[in-house]
Symmetry: C3
Subunit: 441 residues, 3 copies
């Protein structure tokens, strides 16, 4: 029976966008991976917003069907030509190294080097992003133009990396609400110098957490920053007994580009999270797209695996794989825009506001209509037509049978959410209405 | 296993319409309200058709969330100008008085009188209908033209009314059928000089009851005439233990205007009453409209409140609020037409016929087709094509699994109701078919 | 976990069609009926393909609501004019005799003969097919042109038939698969010289059975050739205790004409058999038609009666009653074409292949995604896009919750069946997937 939370009041969204872009810019050069110091430093950097708690899970730990891999760290990596000039240098761009490359020190003719070189013929100026997490290998990524300009001859290759027992790191932040049920926000945090994918999601999630912190909230919120796939799997494996608290969730990814919002439904397709987010987008995101669940994508793959089947959707602007800059050096600090980062924060705040306000309701005087007039809730002169406020009271009373939520009533009645919310508040104050419990279905 | 009831046989519908209009005309001038002698006299007048039973519920009785209000009666009411001329006189038109006005005897300048005067600027010739049941107040209704013609100066106001402990009156009539399950017809009876809303419904219901009386019927029928809202609530409160018998019902209102039929579904949306009425209208009411349930309107609001959730729809021609004459002096004896009243009676008879004929069916020889030929139900020369009569036999036998009714089979097969009914009769006579029980779902 | 069965490999479909047409041609002249030697000989002729087992059920046996009728046999039947010339002779065309005609030896004037003569005014060259199984009668069928050319005068009529206690014959062939659950193919076998209806179905079923024989199959298959209606009813009555094994089935009829395939759904409408056949037709039968269940037609009437409600659909090219040649002498050896018979066999083989491959599946590592890379099922270089093979693995793992079949996953994912099947095989080999049980829902 708390009053609705207004999270966006007084917020300077353009200013928020600029600060988010600054944060993205600071972390952009770092070489993140699924383990190692690049990841660890990035997660620690979130403390600029909120005191995240880092977990360190040792290499070799069994997590569901997987094993936490050795920790990877890298100091330096380059290819030099015969004059000793570094023609490809990891220090200029972390994408140059195939993520998880094993150490190498060698001199090779171009023919032997080439199988280790990755480029994008269709975008010859861009450097691709490549990884080799689970097979020991090494390689460099470079622009196709540069690859084609390489003359025959010998090249010196140096990769100063280590791949040895260590830890996988993830960060969490939890906000306790009035009830124990949780909404999970999850942002994968393993990609190196890629701005949209997913420094955008990491940043927006952190600022969102900061804005929720200290608020009086009906529901609890958990934020998770973890490396993709193995990080989500590790977190799931270590939290099996508390997953039942998760009543909704969102994977946040690619939230800084100029595309319209794309919501990918949870595997359940019609969970509360789906209703809430589709309502918010219909209300506030012109041209948005709602997509059916599919088992490809980001960590919704893990949350929505059939054994867990958590009600977790995914919010993006342009989704992974649907923009040419995806997984290339063109996903850079120009590709993500302050205004778009700010707009994403704004939408997430609206989502939390709506999640907070949505509730299953029960009419406490369900036999006939209660007499609203004696409670000051009805016009005193009869024979006239009712207005939307009265209609909302009647809709709420009629549908509040313990099987309809605020959003269900809004959708069925065709009235604005605010009108229905006000009616609910009036009826609660009059003692005519209650929530069935603190949890959403 | 009774034969189908033919209620419309030999009926002179135009003549019926004229008699209904005569009855409406007789009651039109009377000042009905939610209590009092205008209501009581009107309910007694129904005895012209059938021996209704009147219930008198004392003021102050708790009924669900409400309390039966004091009884209101009125002898006289007028506004006189300085010459003593009655410029507004309740005896000419009962709408002139705000229903439930407290007694007044006063001289007032126009400025003080005006807050008590109600008019309709958008229809300046018409007098509005206004009430103040639950807040003690007084007022007059007049045409906007007259209101604007009033000169400044003092006016004498007189309202000879009483508001004191008495009773709320409602009328009932019940027809016992072969089974105890009931169909409820309900017509609100509290509106003063308004012909369509709802003398039309009151009259048609009374004549319908008269035509059903003495018939051999499969189902029982209950007719209720009660003041709107408080009357339905009072009746519900006093009949809590027998509501379970109600298997279907219809609120009857606005049945005399020239509009097409509008059926508003029950809250259940797909109850037997919805199937039956939608079938009848599809068959016999060109251009009719079927509307979703909503919790505004007449006493379906009470019957369909979530605690009761009775399968009660509403039949109107033009529904409340959808015609400009609604709740004004233009809803008069010219606005309702004999032909339309007759047509409404005709449709209601068709509805009862269909309700009577609809039944859940079970094939008693469900393993393979029974041999229809040896029972004289099938062509004897094979190789030829079957006709619709044979098709109906096969459809009934195939769908009569205890979960399909006559109307369900009609809808699914696309055959005429009469053809399916005949098939059912043949199969019952042959001992191949039975009703699952006397009740509809 | 058997490998998918490839039934069509190396099959010469045009050659198959020619052999089927040869078989139809051989049986075409014989006078089949619901009992008797014409039927018995025809069922024995199936032994050309497979060793069918014939059942002989005595006349007088109670079968469900019916009784097995006396056995009918016929040696000769003709009408002679005054010169002794046989103007209508059963030996030229078995349709000339009304099936089940009682013996007659008489001289009659035309006027008395005419009530026993059947013709088709709308197709004056064709001879109709007529029966009188359950009422003792006699008659001749002839072209309308011939009927009209008959001059007045006396005619000699001779029918050498017998109608006496004997047997009703049906043929069965069962192929044992790995599980006891059965798919039923049923072809009515009682029609005399009609090629499409249903020598086409009889022949295609027999060759299909021959091709399945000796194969290693997951499911069992039962083939039934029986007279229409009474044959299916007799078979059902004698197999009440094993009907529970039937998980799907098809009535085969009219499979030799040039029309597109028509699939009539089972009464259940969404049984596995419906999913499988609609998939196969969508894939391989351009322009095919899917029809709702209705209780008219062939023996699906019996299998889908409400007491049994077996998941049995019907496959035809042009269904009964929808082509003018139906039940006339124009349904002859020119009307059915080798190519169409072959194409029907091909579609049935595809149906069996798909039925064999369809299975309910369960992911054995349902918590998160299993690590496909370590099992050689996933690209080793990350950052690149996945292909359809990987997508199929993810779809199968995600939907294999024990409530989705191979075909369900195919439909939902939009991927080709072959791609999904391959993914299933890989996952089974990797120990990540199992069938929930050997049966389809």
């Amino acid at each position: 029976m708390s009053s609705p939370v207004h999270l966006r009041e007084g917020l300077d969204i353009p200013g928020e966008g600029r600060q988010l872009h600054d944060f993205v810019s600071r972390l952009y050069p770092w070489c993140r991976s699924i383990t190692g110091n690049g990841l660890r430093d990035s997660l620690n950097a979130l403390k600029q917003f909120i005191p995240v708690q880092l977990s360190e899970v040792p290499s070799g730990t069994q997590v569901l069907d997987w094993v936490v891999p050795p920790e990877w760290n890298i100091q330096d990596a380059w290819i030099a030509d015969t004059t000793g000039r570094h023609i490809v240098d990891f220090r200029h761009q972390s994408l140059h190294i195939v993520n998880y490359s094993v150490p190498v020190q060698a001199k090779l003719p171009l023919a032997e080097l080439k199988p280790h070189l990755h480029s994008l013929p269709e975008n010859p100026d861009w450097i691709p992003y490549r990884t080799s997490y689970y097979r020991e290998n090494w390689g460099f990524c470079l622009s196709h133009n540069q690859l084609q300009s390489l003359s025959d001859g010998e090249y010196e290759v140096r990769i100063d990396s280590t791949l040895q027992p260590g830890h996988l790191t993830y960060a969490e932040f939890r906000i306790q609400g009035e009830s124990a049920d949780e909404f999970l926000f999850s942002a994968h945090s393993c990609h190196p110098s890629l701005a949209n994918d997913n420094l955008s999601g990491m940043a927006v999630a952190a600022r969102l957490a900061q804005l929720l912190q200290g608020r009086r909230l009906r529901h609890s919120y958990r934020f998770l920053w973890a490396p993709g796939t193995i990080g989500a799997i590790t977190w799931l494996a270590q939290n099996l007994n508390s997953l039942g608290n998760i009543r909704g969730g969102l994977v946040l990814s690619c939230l800084g580009d100029s595309g319209v919002f794309h919501y990918k439904r949870s595997r359940q397709e019609h969970a509360s999270v789906d209703t809430v987010i589709e309502h918010v987008l219909a209300d506030s995101a012109p041209g948005h797209v709602v997509e059916a669940f599919e088992p490809m994508g980001y960590d919704e793959r893990q949350f929505c695996s059939p054994g867990f089947d958590l009600p977790v959707g995914r919010l993006s602007r342009t989704p992974n794989g649907q923009y040419p800059e995806y997984h290339t050096s063109a996903d850079n600090l120009q590709f993500v825009k302050p205004a778009e980062l700010g707009g994403s924060l704004d939408i997430l705040l609206r989502i939390v506001e709506t999640w907070e306000s949505n509730r299953m309701l029960r009419n406490l005087a369900p036999y006939g209509e209660p007499q609203l007039g004696k409670r000051g809730l009805y016009r005193t002169t009869g024979g006239t037509s009712g207005n939307a406020d009265e209609a909302a009271l009647l809709w709420v009373l009629n549908l509040a049978d313990g099987a309809h939520s605020l959003l269900d009533i809004t959708k069925r009645s065709g009235l604005p959410l605010a009108t229905v919310s006000t009616a609910i508040n009036h009826l609660e104050k009059a003692g005519l209405l209650t929530e069935t419990n603190g949890l959403q279905k």
